[in-house]
Amino acid sequence: MFAAEDMFRSFAPHRKNSIVIVTGTCGRHWRDISDNEKRDAPLAGAMGQTTSASLGLALAQPDEKVVLFDSEGSLLMNMGILATIAGQKPNNFVHFLMDNECYATTGGQPVPNSQDIDYAGMAREAGYTAAYSFDNLEEFTNNVEKIMSEPGPVFVAMKMIPEVENEPIGRRQRRAVRPRVQAIRDLQESLGVTVSI
């Protein structure tokens, strides 16, 4: 297992002009590391469906690279999306999965079959162009440049150290986030999309 924050720091130099979408407890670190927030897309809203929304964005903008950092709890809620994505074959789509083997935000309860499930194998068999699994930072760092240059859809499963939150929700530290409407406007402006909220 490796730390999500370290993983994002390793990924950041290879981001270039990609649109980046993050989910889950691990995803919060990206906000402190991203150097192009106008290309960070806030597509959360229903657990399991950020993956689907990211696919929609990739299909709408085939000349833009769309990079999703998904979480395993979310993917388990919407596993059919692997077939949907593979069926569309978006060559501009990179699907990272941050697998901490638990629901970190609700106290660390394990997800079903947390230690034995093979997400990369499922993506590969669903029809992704390529699929990888990493459980250490060094190996991830050595491969991320290649992964970002491959035609998609590419799937990358990563074992992340859980950052379990046990504080009652009202007592948790709140992080400042850009208003969703503003973030989508910024993204659309950078894409030259005139239809807006």
Binding site: G56, I81, Q188
Partner: protein
């Protein structure tokens, strides 16, 4: 005694309305009521079909398409719409974007007792979500689809079209 032919809803009527309203993508899980529409859509060069694995995906895929500048519709059955509750809430209602959802009204009829619970719960479900809807049963109802698009744009909310043609021949061409 001659029996009058029941008014029918042809797939072309929906397709014409989609084109008129600038639809670029149909995100769908086909159902038995819309199979001829699916066949017709496949032949349209201006339209992209995005098959989904579960209905909840259709609302989220549509959100991504809208953010990316496209005009999708969701084409699903009422059973799948009910499965999609949280996706409709978080990815459609809360997003602040217009979206037209075309929903096959399985079990609906206006001539007898409705025995299919899929039909019985369809309108209460939409009412609970605060989503306005229009019933389209025959070709002369087609303009209601443009009304739905205008309303969705004006209010930046989803609006539903209920295709209530199961017993009239939507599958006829």
């Amino acid at each position: 005694m001659t029996q009058e032919q029941a008014a029918i809803l042809e797939p072309q009527t929906l397709l014409d309305e989609f084109k008129k309203n600038g639809v670029t993508h149909v995100v769908t899980i086909p159902d038995s009521e819309t199979n001829y529409l699916y066949e017709l859509m496949k032949t349209q060069s201006w339209l992209t079909i995005v098959p989904a694995s579960r209905e909840g995906e259709t609302f989220a895929i549509s959100l991504g398409l809208i953010v990316g500048g496209k005009v999708p519709v969701c084409l699903i059955q009422n059973t799948g719409m009910m499965e999609s509750g949280d996706s409709i809430r978080g990815m459609a209602l809360d997003s602040g974007f217009p979206l037209v959802m075309v929903v096959g009204y399985r079990g609906w009829n206006r001539h007898g007792v409705i025995t299919d619970s899929a039909a019985r719960y369809t309108e209460p479900f939409l009412n609970a979500m605060g989503i306005n809807y229009y019933l389209v049963e025959q070709d002369s109802d087609g303009p209601r689809i443009s009304v739905a698009f205008e309303e969705a744009k004006a209010n930046k909310r989803p609006v539903a079209i209920l295709v209530g043609d199961e017993y009239h021949g939507f599958n006829r061409v």
